[in-house]
Subunit: 392 residues, 2 copies
């Protein structure tokens, strides 16, 4: 299990918001001192109340964050004016319970069903419980409390050094369905004790997000609640260089993002899609994401059917100027297409290449030298079962 | 069963291209006289050999078409130079078998697995059989020969009058998976004995396609082979006005498009999504298509779970400037959202509204007066089963 960086405490408690009795559903993270913060939010025009609040908050104040409240079981999205008041009231309740100066030092995030109001009595009770429970060893409970259809908690931690001083980055993420981040993933919180300015934190997060959470897809649905927040409290006194910190942050974000893709609703396989030979990295990522979203590609992987034409088809409708006469494809290690012409590959070998739980494909566009890697999962009967009855 | 307009003949024969023994897989349509033609093709950058050929052909000659060859079981897409030669050779074989002047009078279409070469010996044999079999009563066989995962043939016919003269429009379409037309649907051929110029045919087809085939989605996958072709031989001597003909053509196209959505792979429900209160019809259509593609929306309909938040979520990431505080939603006839705030609706009534095999939803964006209607189907376990093993 991952550890918390210096100066952070966490708790996960059961407040009765999830239907299952006793399930952890409220996470609280507190920092002993002020944190610099940076965040990226969903690009969905329909934004949850907590996202609307969080965007304003981080724009007004990115240098004095003290706590993050996350509830699962209710997304507080499409909930009108009452939803906005409830988000504000939750932050105020956290500030009061932790003895902070103001609700502006508290970020809130929610995940769960859309169009339902937060059960405020239960949430207030959960906040009181969590504020009493926060501890340096409470991270595992917190990471479990933010799960919805996730089957496992997702955490990642790393220790890095800079100028002889060590610093830690630890993150957690949740997400299994409605995963097609366009600015961030469903919910992720990253904490570090490195000493990084708010501006450098923002720049590093944006680049790290593009190469991690913005490079995964489960079902093509960009959620109303996507939030990726990073907090830096400087407690380690390590001041990493811009490049080093960006690399470290990208490593933690990528690890979390792959965990989210691997735990996609009903998934049986993690699929790594490497697109090479593109004009730009952005072009490669757009082609990769188009392949990662295609239900026909994802069901073929589930069925272990080497139906690689669907991959070319999805690349073709990505909106990028793909040239089929220059495209080559390696499908689970087997070279099946050479500059637009099918090779004389063995069908048996191609089918065998699809058996493992992790499968990699490479599409070379034959146009340039840029590349990008995107992660997704297969689409199974279980995905339908989970989503046909999600609310019950 | 639909009838053919005056002067058209059709046949559907078994050439052994499909795996199932004796299955009809080659359709041939012939006109006794020259036809004006118009077509719209897939916007996918990866285009089948027959689409590449068809685009050139219609650009060079839209006034002298005599026949259309359609095979199922092999898409002739991503097949390199050999695929292009095979498309040309098939057209030449049809011209020879029917005694036409040139292969340029013959359009070909293919549907089936991508990345596999046409079995030319079988296809040539099928062409000879079909050329002998074409008859005024062969339309039903033709409409069955173009099916792949379709469970029923899709045909539509209408008799219209203009200046005291009657004319007929008859069409067939195929498509069940890889359906997310961006210029046209998978494959559709429309025939009329009206007397319409090639220019007017082209304009009418473009507008009719937007309101029919471009307004349906099964799985968000835009195929490599989408082709919608209309042929007019003028045999009825009726010369409908521009507006009348467009309306008539739209009626036939919409009927076929709805049949395609209803027969989506594994579908149990036809879902009609009406988006109103938009600034423009194009905006309404884009929002509607975003909802129609969402796996989370489609699985909720399958599970008869009134999880309407997913509809707002999908509208929000459509790319259009949706304002949640102005959006209202009727979900299977139940008013669940009023300008951004959930109403006090009965959960029981909302669930009941989802039981029928045809369900309608209306999303009012509260911004303007334009609207559009989009059709889709639900996503079921059967969709996964069909697509996990499509090639076997």
């Amino acid at each position: 299990m991952s550890n918390l960086p210096i100066g952070f405490r966490a708790a996960g408690v059961a407040a009765g918001i999830k239907k299952a009795a006793g399930a952890l559903d409220v996470a609280l993270i507190a920092s002993n001192t002020s944190c610099k913060a940076a965040a990226v939010f969903t690009s969905n025009k329909v934004k949850a109340a907590c996202v609307l609040r969080g965007k304003n908050q981080i724009a007004a104040n990115a240098t004095d964050f003290r706590a993050v409240l996350i509830n699962a079981g209710c997304a507080n999205a499409v909930t009108g004016d009452l939803g906005v008041r409830n988000a504000e009231d939750s932050a105020a309740a956290v500030a009061a319970a932790l003895g902070l100066e103001t609700a502006a030092q508290v970020m809130t995030m929610s995940t769960g069903v859309i169009g339902v109001q937060l059960p405020m009595d239960k949430l207030r009770h959960g906040i009181l419980l969590a504020a009493q429970a926060v501890t340096e060893s409470g991270f595992e409970d917190a990471s479990r409390a933010i799960m919805t259809t996730d089957t496992v908690p997702k955490t990642s931690t790393g220790v890095f050094t800079s100028g002889g001083k060590a610093y830690m980055i630890t993150g957690m993420a949740k997400g299994s369905g409605m995963i097609h981040p366009n600015m961030a993933t469903m919910l992720s919180l990253i904490m570090t004790d490195a000493d990084v300015s708010a501006t450098r934190l923002r720049l590093a997060l944006r680049r790290a997000a593009d190469r991690s959470f913005n490079s995964i897809s489960v079902d093509g649905d960009t959620s109303t609640n996507d939030t990726l927040l990073v907090l830096a409290n400087g407690a380690s006194e390590a001041r990493p260089s811009e490049a080093d910190f960006e690399l470290a942050l990208t490593q933690i974000c990528s690890d979390l993002a792959r965990q989210v893709a691997r735990d996609g609703e009903g998934a049986t396989k993690l699929i790594t899609i490497r697109v090479t030979g593109a004009h730009t990295e952005a072009m490669a990522r757009k082609v990769g994401r188009s392949i990662a979203v295609s239900p026909l590609v994802k069901t073929a992987f589930y069925g272990e059917d080497a139906n690689w034409g669907r991959i070319l088809c999805a690349a073709g409708y990505s909106g990028e100027n793909v040239d089929q006469t220059k495209s080559s494809l390696w499908f689970g290690g087997i070279h099946v297409l050479d500059r637009g012409t099918p090779t004389d590959y063995s069908e048996e070998a191609a089918t065998l290449a699809l058996k493992p739980r992790e499968v990699a494909i490479q599409l070379d566009l034959g146009l340039g030298t840029a590349e990008s890697t995107v992660w997704t999962c297969d689409m199974s009967h279980e995905y339908i079962t989970i989503n046909g009855k999600y609310r019950s």
